[in-house]
Subunit: 295 residues, 2 copies
């Protein structure tokens, strides 16, 4: 199976999004260290999975991408980028390398890295609130993004990660950790796409379910890659999790167990896709996105 | 002049707000270290100046306080609290004491302090977006809060502070620093009160002007207190600014010069109040708030 639709999004819409994020940041303030620090991490690349999910969802509904959709995607990527900057801090995961480049605090120092993260998180809400969607929809997106990113979502997952490091969690606790740390923003991406595409209640519920599976698959895949991949391929340190006694799927289930959990999750996700297809969606791009996790 | 109206707000509405903030945080998630870290700093007291400004503004317009007004005030105090937690971090101002108690990272460690700040900032937007005001107003408040707190406002001021420490700024740069670091959120408090009270365009413009003066007075006063006060009175380290070569009004203008700048700013603010009174506002509470700065 080729990934034509996904590739088209990556080569077209994602490039435009990258430009919009750069323009938004540089239009906001004069060039100084803080601006450079924010732009550095936003421009460090990455797979832009969360924006891709939003764009793929609009495509699945046959809805064309408005300027507002790009703002929804860009603000989400800002939130994701802030989380990486703060996660990499010495007091957190203490990472020197991210996406093949020195981490933010390695280049700009710890204080500016904290501020660059704070700045991107806050700018995300300013940008999103100015998206010029219908006010009730726009407000709902602000609320959902904050819910997904905050103490009920991503920040909760990160705190569980920090607190759990060094003693082994059971599988349920690991799932709760990841549901927050990576799952919440990914699920929001599906929800946000559904809101942009005016999905029905039933479709939104399916999107949320699919989003949960997708987020889980994403995390198991990432954990497996940490064990089996190389620094060159990943652009960040590998085999770190074990050294730091991080809780991961391979650590708890073994490598083969983790691979099986990934396959189970993908099977579950595909069943959900069939239901989505029955509501009239063209799920081709979603299938292409799932191919990403083929080991 | 007694401060009857202000005192009534402090003893009534602010107590209710404190309870609402505590309830919101504890309703959001189970009790764990992260929850404790967020609650610790929110409950550490403080003057609640920003909520008081919102309540005072509603009072000046003769508008009664709805539940939504409390949410607008509480979300702003969350943002302020996050900024204190991050400012106190070792890589930032490295403060051990805040409001007479050990700073967040001293109690919960640096990683959780970063996350408690991130959590409060994000929760602020979730709470604000759920305030159930008219969606267009509510969205505008989200946008203005993010603008005031982010890289065009408070985060900008903090970055200027970090970058400027150790070499003397000129007065214009110091003003830009403070306009961001403390001015932006204070001005937002006046704007938000004006939105809640359905102020006219002309009144909003006056509120913004008064807010700028008020924020400036607040900062000059704080700088002077750092020179003249004691740890007991301030609840935080004093005489720190000089030791750290921080840029302050007394450092640039001398103590007498700073006192004169405060008086000038207050005179300016009072002229603005007269204009506000002419539009039909009862500015008594504002006058009481200004008394705070009497040296």
């Amino acid at each position: 199976m080729n990934n034509n639709k996904l590739k088209a999004l990556q080569e077209g819409e994602i490039q435009r999004l990258n430009q919009m994020m750069t323009d938004y940041l540089s239009g906001m303030r004069n060039d100084d260290k803080l601006s450079q620090a924010m732009a550095y991490s936003v421009n460090a690349g990455g797979k832009r999975i969360r924006p891709l999910i939003i764009f793929a969802t609009c495509a699945a509904f046959g809805v064309s991408l408005t300027n507002s959709a790009f703002i929804v995607a860009g603000s989400l990527e800002f939130v994701h980028t802030y989380s990486l900057i703060h996660d990499d801090l010495p007091e957190m995961d203490n990472d020197d390398l991210r996406r093949g480049q020195p981490t933010n605090h390695k280049v700009f120092g710890q204080a500016l890295a904290v501020l660059a993260g704070d700045g991107l998180l806050t700018a995300a809400f300013e940008w999103l609130a100015s998206a010029k969607l219908a006010p009730d929809k726009n407000l709902e997106l602000c609320r959902l993004l904050a819910h997904a990113a905050g103490p009920s979502g991503m920040v909760d997952g990160q705190a569980r990660d920090i607190e759990g490091t060094g003693h082994q969690l059971d599988l349920a606790s690991l799932q709760a950790l990841h549901a927050g740390k990576t799952g919440a923003l990914i699920r929001y991406a599906f929800e946000a796409g559904g809101i942009l595409a005016e999905a029905s209640q039933a479709q939104q519920e399916l999107l949320r379910r699919f989003g949960s599976d997708f987020g889980l698959a994403f995390q198991i895949y990432d954990d497996i890659m940490d064990v089996t991949s190389t620094v060159e391929k990943m652009g960040k340190a590998v085999h770190k999790d074990k050294g730091e006694q991080k809780n991961t799927y391979p650590a708890i289930l073994g490598l083969e167990g983790a691979k099986k959990a990934l396959q189970d999750t993908l099977r579950h996700a595909k069943a959900c896709l069939e239901e989505l297809a029955q509501t009239g969606l063209d799920v081709t791009v979603y299938q292409e996105l799932l191919n990403y996790f083929m080991l």
